[in-house]
Symmetry: C2
Amino acid sequence: MKKISLEIGKSIPRFDAFAKVTGKEKYASDFWSPDMLWAGVKRAGVPHARIRGIKTDEAISIPGVLSVLTSRDVKGTNRQGVVRKDQPVLADDRVRHCGDPVALVVAKDRETLAMALSAIELDLEPLQAVFDPEKALEQGAPLVHERNLERNLLLKGSLETGKGEAAFEECDETVEAEFRLPHQEHAYLETEAGWAILRDGVLEITASTQSPFRDRYEMAEAIGFDMHRVRIIAPYCGGAFGGKDGITVQSLLGLAALNNPGRPVKMWWSREESILASAKRHPARLYYKLGAKKDGAFHALSARVYFDTGPYDHLGGAVMALGLEHSGGPYRIPNANLKAWSVFTNNPIGGPFRGFGVTQANAAMEQMVDLMAKRVGISPLDIRLKNALRRGDRNPAGVTLTGSTGIGECLKKIPASRLWQERETWKKAAPLYKKRGAGLASAMQGMGYGPLIPDTANAKIELNRDGRFRVFCGVVDMGQGNASTYLQIAGEILNQDMSGVELVLPDTARTLPSGSSSASRTTFTYGNALIKASKILKQRLLEKAADLLMAKGSEEMDIVPGCVRHMPSGKEMPLSALAGILSEAERTSVARYRTPSAKESPASDPLLTLHGIPHIIFSYAAHAAFVEIDTLTGRIEVKCYLAITDCGRILNPQAFEQQIHGGIAQGLGYALCEELKVDHGMILTPDLGTYIIPTSMDLPDMESSAVELHEENGPFGLKGAGEIAVNGPYPAVANAIADACGIRILEGPMTAERVLGALNALQRGEAQ
Amino acid sequence: MKKISLEIGKSIPRFDAFAKVTGKEKYASDFWSPDMLWAGVKRAGVPHARIRGIKTDEAISIPGVLSVLTSRDVKGTNRQGVVRKDQPVLADDRVRHCGDPVALVVAKDRETLAMALSAIELDLEPLQAVFDPEKALEQGAPLVHERNLERNLLLKGSLETGKGEAAFEECDETVEAEFRLPHQEHAYLETEAGWAILRDGVLEITASTQSPFRDRYEMAEAIGFDMHRVRIIAPYCGGAFGGKDGITVQSLLGLAALNNPGRPVKMWWSREESILASAKRHPARLYYKLGAKKDGAFHALSARVYFDTGPYDHLGGAVMALGLEHSGGPYRIPNANLKAWSVFTNNPIGGPFRGFGVTQANAAMEQMVDLMAKRVGISPLDIRLKNALRRGDRNPAGVTLTGSTGIGECLKKIPASRLWQERETWKKAAPLYKKRGAGLASAMQGMGYGPLIPDTANAKIELNRDGRFRVFCGVVDMGQGNASTYLQIAGEILNQDMSGVELVLPDTARTLPSGSSSASRTTFTYGNALIKASKILKQRLLEKAADLLMAKGSEEMDIVPGCVRHMPSGKEMPLSALAGILSEAERTSVARYRTPSAKESPASDPLLTLHGIPHIIFSYAAHAAFVEIDTLTGRIEVKCYLAITDCGRILNPQAFEQQIHGGIAQGLGYALCEELKVDHGMILTPDLGTYIIPTSMDLPDMESSAVELHEENGPFGLKGAGEIAVNGPYPAVANAIADACGIRILEGPMTAERVLGALNALQRGEAQ
């Protein structure tokens, strides 16, 4: 560990690898003490009902049960949510989906807790419910929120550029299609978990969360406690993907701890509870129409996208806005009319998920591109190259791209791959009853919070008394490895190897607010702040050492591992000695960075701006999927996968590759097998035995490379890489299936059943 | 107090004025507690002797005496000194001047202390002593330090430019003269005082000092205690003028406290002890020869200057170096040969004193200028104007002046004064038996430590939780008012009035090292550091507030008293609210500033560089004294005084004027009445009844103005103003006396006796 270099551009092993693989790293679910209590909730179990009564007598009389709490015991607003605060901590008058929590129990152990939860009887009066987002917008539909001014509409948005719809008249060719994209469960390794204690008037919560600083005030307001007396500690997450961006266990744990002061309370959702209660990727219905000139130049686009956000906002408005912004893909389309709706239903909650609405829009748009390619008789690659955005172009959302714009470069690298070059030979070599196809997809993903919510990070770095640099990281590492990259950044600037740096994970009492771990922003935003802070500290140390060694000035000094050196004489001063002389204020440096946002506003509803668009910095990718279809069973096997990414300069190739591979794996799951079956609001796939995620055995060989365009705003030229890869697999696979068999599966996931159905229909000569 | 503006350029009343005039401000001598002990020292009383024995039995047996300590009780090096550590804390084998401390007594009260000190018997074997600095350099002179390699020479230096001495052959006119400049006692209001306690392993010393951070390691080494466990607190000084730049009571107090742990020990020198033991302005002998062309253009200069540093270095080498550097005055002299010596004697200790060697050199050079003016028949003003340095010139020390160089501008403003315009009329109106004269002097003073010792300051500023800004000041305010100017600087940048700022005085445990309060450097160096720190903090607060108020960016924000305001909307966030949200690291800013030094080195001994020359930034002044001489008694009265100063931009006109007036008063005392009579090393003027300093009644009306050239390195364009004014009065008065009566008093001070003697000699036709 000692001598591991931290140079930017090198594959640095994760700082947390050893602690994690040996089980030493403590996740939120790992906290334990002999005197701890367990908290859990009774959930509604029905999709829509009025609460007539909650019988808790029996539960509270069970020995070992300390509290049974209902909404009446919540002192605050009892409402949480990042943008619109509409989700109750504990349901008061109504339940709006099956997973709504109704009563909170605190008990001495898990068995007693389970008994008490079963002993609670809910007296619920069923209400008419709504499960179809388009029907939900119709007059007379049952209302999810009876007092919402716009009935079941959470947010709608539209973007129009050029002549909009009218431009279709100028097109030589037009293609139209409708797509249905499914729910997706985050399925993180670590389910929702936390640990809380009220001690000396301070409510301390350790939780698996992506947003500790925001949790603090969101939770404090909801449960009625002084925010300044709340401390949130965020260990590494065992996966999150957006599902822990916002409150999960925090308010419930806070409530439990407030009612049981002095004793630690633990909450840890089972997998089943997690699937029942947690937010999912929004299902979407997408109606697309794309027009082009004869030569394949895109000329007009119309998109209508409906997102089913379930009963609560939970960033559903923002997800819709981002989907809308990206609905035209990374192409020049001079005329566009784009519309989207986010709609309340009594289905499971829709919420943030890697890709954040872009995944769904891209799945549709990239299939439209292939449909148009076929129509005008150009190859899928050529039509993409022809229309790919370049720096200086306006994107379909109407924003002029002033930063690095590498979609063209990504696409141009596709033919360099042998996989691609030899695809026709490979396709022809398909075994009996199998068909092979290759499909392309472009992808783009905006970085950061967009214009209105300041997208900032505050870095802090300290030279310890022992001569090591301690990075105070305010943004969560949910498993993606950004924390290690921070050490690499500090190590590069301060010229230390891994033995010279250490990390403090997010903790509202120790680290500085740096926003959520989301929106492909962590390394970009915190990284930039950390670069500033490290440079300030470095300069300060050089100056101090210059003073102490009586050098002519800091320009004669440099930092080497463990020491500051006077370069002309070679005299060295150990960092520990320097630290011993400096006051804490001198050994500590803080810096803030704010991500730039677009200066143009697409002509649209200002509410859209509030929900985070438009963006100005985007990552891009070109993907190719190589699939083999068993025409007898419909089974699809992705044999190989190619991803070329423009996310700026790669700081750590290994960490980059992990992000890309992970995104592809999650995208392939979404495309092919992850099917959350929901019937009348009830989840029929309540566990990982029925909701199938791909294992490593299901995944293809992946070939990943990058076009390392330098993004001038980025830390060392980087752009975010956390989400981009999840947007390619769905359409790449869909296009590959079409290439293999001439069928197009319009509703996801593209399971064997649906493929076989489509193959049969094709055989029967039915129209798709 | 509340609404007092802190704008730069305004006369701001001192922050400390109210506390000082009401007696609430605690000086080092004001500390008191019921359990405190008193410490005092037995001093040698003879100028040079070997210590055969110290009888302490009787003293220690006096009830109430806790310790009687001698050099054997000192665990450290028992040596102190800023550059050369040659001064014992307690004399060991020898005493080298009458004030040398031999034994330290700690007693329960002052009376017991006095009894014990009298009861100590010293067995001293007298040694041959040396009192004349020139004789001290002769072979066979008694040695002050028997092991000093260069015998009685502490340091010599020489600077040569152009052809040096050889250029006198090219001169049309040459004038020569010898001057003897006297000792000067600092005579601060507050004599040396301090308060120490050893508590929990930490030695805490509160002392009247100009250099708390340096004291810490100087003292720690001398008494053998871990520097990191020493805390020095430096309250406002009641005057210092250089006399508290270095150790006075600190080591003795430290020793007393180490031997009496847990109880506070106080030491407070009486006026008589202060005059006996403290350092003085160095007496100097100056041999000058100035050559000029017919038109009055200076062409060659030779100077030989001997400084009597007494028995110890105590910055005597640095004082000599500075005197040498300035010995040619602010003039273009293409050829110079300058030499100086700092010599050990058994006289009182010579040490730092406002002007720092420049006062003596300038007193000689400015009289040479008048002698030459008379010789070539040009007015004293014209000859100065003709030869005055301009930016880009090389000064007599060989350094090219790249900064603001306003001596010409100062001189040009002299004729604008009515005092000057009407001087001939005024002179003619002299009463019977009185003669009047007007005399000019230029002056210059280099700023800062010079090239080798990094001249740095470290500022710290914090936004308190209550919304006020706290300036942590690491450099002492010895009465000159720099601390108030720091608040003004912070207030200007952070747009606060006086109610919005507060101050922490120097304290090695709370504030950051910022060097000594000396060398005209405090406001320049710490001020520059504070500007940086304040700007950093301001920007951080604007950014934070922008984030919190969801503004587009910090450019939309500004600070107003008590608040951060979003300018477009007028929305305000109280600083206290902002402070409540920020962590301490974010609310705190530190910055370091290092004063630039000359990049050229005059061709000379590298030892000179070690002693702080050359400088690159200088303040300048032109002074005029208007004197009236009673020809019957020799009494001299300075009737009016004019000072025009170039110390860059004036930040606080009132504070500036106080510095100039104070410098002139001290300079006039040096010129006219302050005579430390020393006979064979014994001070014959042991108190303020015999050593006469001017009172306000003795001082003339003073007219002070400034040419506010902008110094680009300075804080808001400032240069130091603390010393420059002390350098003018001596030569201005001497030149005025010559102007009035045709006599020149070559030995100072220029008392009535000496004037009368010279008048009588003139009458007798004797040569001067």
